[in-house]
């Protein structure tokens, strides 16, 4: 348990660093950029839904 708490504490430190070093607007903008890039990638490589990996009701 102590090891898990130490790992979680380290993760929380990393989160705090991110929150302190960037503004909320910057983070949202980065997330929007990431999602838009993923979306463009998807449209380019996967113009139709896959049959072998249905996201719904697996």
């Amino acid at each position: 348990m102590n090891n898990t708490l130490a790992r979680l504490s380290k993760l929380k430190d990393e989160r705090n660093k991110i929150l302190q070093s960037t503004s909320k607007e910057q983070r949202v903008k980065s997330m929007e950029s990431l999602l838009n890039n993923l979306d463009e990638y998807g449209k380019k490589n996967y113009p139709f839904l896959l049959d072998n990996w249905k996201g719904e009701d697996k």
Partner: protein, 212 residues
């Protein structure tokens, strides 16, 4: 030990946790242009506005590569009109894989995806450190013993190892994981009896075993 709890997304009234683990299909939903991508994208932006940090593991990256590989094999098999030998006791896709090499194409498409994920990680995504195999293995086995599919068990074990219990997924299999909170857009999950309003608190796998 408590049952999993499912939260329907997107929902602006949600209480957003500090961390949410990305299951493979949550990334595939957007990167592979699937049905619920808009809901997943909206949720990820809402969560970021509420200071949630999304985390992922190398296991997720490996699963994405496998998914891409299978998809390319299937497309190529259809394109070439491959006819499997019915006298061989092997699935058609495996037979096709024996005679073609789609590896370079798999790598090209996969690397593009990884580059997108890695180039945006500075303040949006956080890659979890690898857990030592000897520490992860018993946790994975415990989840498998509880009836959780091996690949889902590995995601669950990675989360539990790092002290996390929130996941963005479309996979109903995670409702078998005790003390977990699931954020999902699809009716397969949001119409289950696991839907709730109060999130589970994190417990270690050892606590889960003790209370079973």
């Amino acid at each position: 030990m408590s049952d999993a709890v499912v939260f329907s997304i997107p929902d602006k009234s949600l209480s957003y946790p500090d961390f949410i683990y990305l299951d493979t299909n949550s990334v595939a939903e957007i990167g592979l242009d699937r049905k619920y991508k808009n809901q997943v994208m909206t949720f990820m932006i809402d969560a970021t506005q509420n200071d949630t940090i999304f985390v992922y593991s190398s296991h997720m990256i490996e699963e994405l590569q496998h998914t891409i590989h299978i998809d390319i094999l299937q497309k190529e098999m259809q394109k070439q009109g491959f006819k499997p030998n019915k006298n061989i006791n092997k699935p058609a896709l495996k037979q096709f894989e024996d005679v073609v090499n789609v590896g370079p194409k798999t790598l090209a498409v996969f690397n593009d995806l990884v580059n997108i994920l890695k180039s945006s990680t500075a303040n949006t995504l956080y890659e979890l450190e690898e857990a030592p195999p000897e520490e992860l293995r018993p946790i994975i086995d415990t989840y498998i013993s509880a009836g959780i599919a091996p690949k889902d068990a590995k995601h669950s074990a990675i989360m539990n190892y790092h002290g996390l219990n929130n996941i963005l997924t479309l996979d109903k299999g995670f409702t078998k994981v005790p003390d977990i909170n699931i954020y999902a857009p699809n009716p397969g999950l949001t119409n289950t009896s696991f839907v709730g309003s109060k999130p589970n608190t994190y417990t270690t796998i050892m606590q889960q075993i003790k209370t079973t």
